[in-house]
């Protein structure tokens, strides 16, 4: 079943699998940068980047999406998160180049995790559309 016409998505790889975010949530793909760490107690949070004078938290969602054996992440996908009227950049480490494309999402089946909000059928591949907020609430970091 379709989830309402063609939309823009950013496809990002984590190892051999690809996932997608809605394009309107994505700001840019950034080159590798120096990850800086300091003590904290938030799950999935790997550290921060300094980008254009701003401090950007890095959330390593690969641990949830593909498990602990995800290959080394090479780039950062910068996404906008919304917090009660505020927006904040968050960097998501990904393992390779990303792609912007239009596709018509299908509704996920009942067996999918709740953070999968749609499925995109592309040639021989089915890509899960991920809701970052739902994924983080499942990971206990919302």
């Amino acid at each position: 079943m379709s989830a309402g016409g063609e939309k823009s998505f950013v496809f990002f790889p984590l190892g051999s699998k690809r996932f997608a975010f809605h394009a309107e949530d994505v700001t840019e793909l950034a080159k590798p940068d120096r990850l800086q760490v300091f003590p904290h107690r938030t799950g999935l949070l790997a550290g921060v980047l300094v980008r254009r004078g701003r401090i950007v938290p890095v959330l390593d969602v690969a641990q949830i999406l593909v498990g602990p054996d995800a290959p080394a992440r090479k780039f950062y996908l910068i996404v906008n998160r919304r917090y009660s009227g505020r927006q904040e950049w968050t960097a998501i480490p990904v393992t390779g180049e990303c792609e912007l494309a239009n596709a018509e999402p299908m509704l996920p089946s009942g067996k999918m995790p709740s953070y999968v909000t749609g499925l995109l059928a592309l040639n021989n591949e089915v890509v899960e559309v991920v809701s970052l907020e739902k994924l983080l609430s499942e990971g206990g970091t919302a």
Partner: protein, 167 residues
């Protein structure tokens, strides 16, 4: 894919003291510290196991007739045991912090808010983040090392000990 700017950092110029714990650098407002001293004169302190949170206080130090409770900063930040060599005596409270070393005083011009993505204890630990020569350094909340309730428990324990010693 249109960039949207997050809120801009705010704050005035502020002097901070940079210190290290467990290999991490932190900063504390210079006007929150009354004295930096060595570990001499520390007295071992224990009130038993009934109040676990105070397990991060092993020592007291007395200065000018006031007893200060020395918080182990490594335990406060949930770090592995470290090798403290300095104690920062705080102003306007009877807490002190045991740290590995103190570095230098620096002036920061911008205190960045802790990103909202941080949702754990660190929201209480830090006032914000400073960038020093490209390095991100958390600026600690000096009021978070001991809460008023913890302080009250500790002070009453000291009174009990003093009372028992007087009998």
């Amino acid at each position: 894919m249109r960039p949207q700017l997050p809120s801009t950092p705010k704050g005035a110029r502020e002097d901070v003291i940079v210190f290290t714990v467990g290999g991490f650098r932190f900063a504390i407002a210079a006007n929150a510290v009354s004295e930096i001293r060595g570990l001499e004169d520390l007295r071992r302190f224990s009130i038993g196991t009934s109040y676990l949170r105070t397990a991060q206080v092993d020592f007291t130090v007395e200065r000018n007739g006031t007893v200060y409770f020395v918080v182990d900063a490594a335990r406060h930040f949930r770090l592995p045991p470290s090798k403290p060599t300095r104690v920062l005596i705080l102003r306007q409270t009877t807490a002190a912090i045991q740290v590995d070393s103190t570095d230098r005083m620096m002036e920061i011009s911008v205190l960045h808010a802790l990103p909202q993505a941080f949702s754990g204890d660190e929201r209480n630990w830090y006032r914000g983040l400073a960038v020093m020569n490209g390095d991100v350094v958390p600026v600690v909340n000096h009021n978070a090392f001991l809460s008023k309730a913890e302080m009250a428990v500790l002070k009453s324990a000291v009174q009990r000990v003093k009372g028992a010693a007087a009998v």
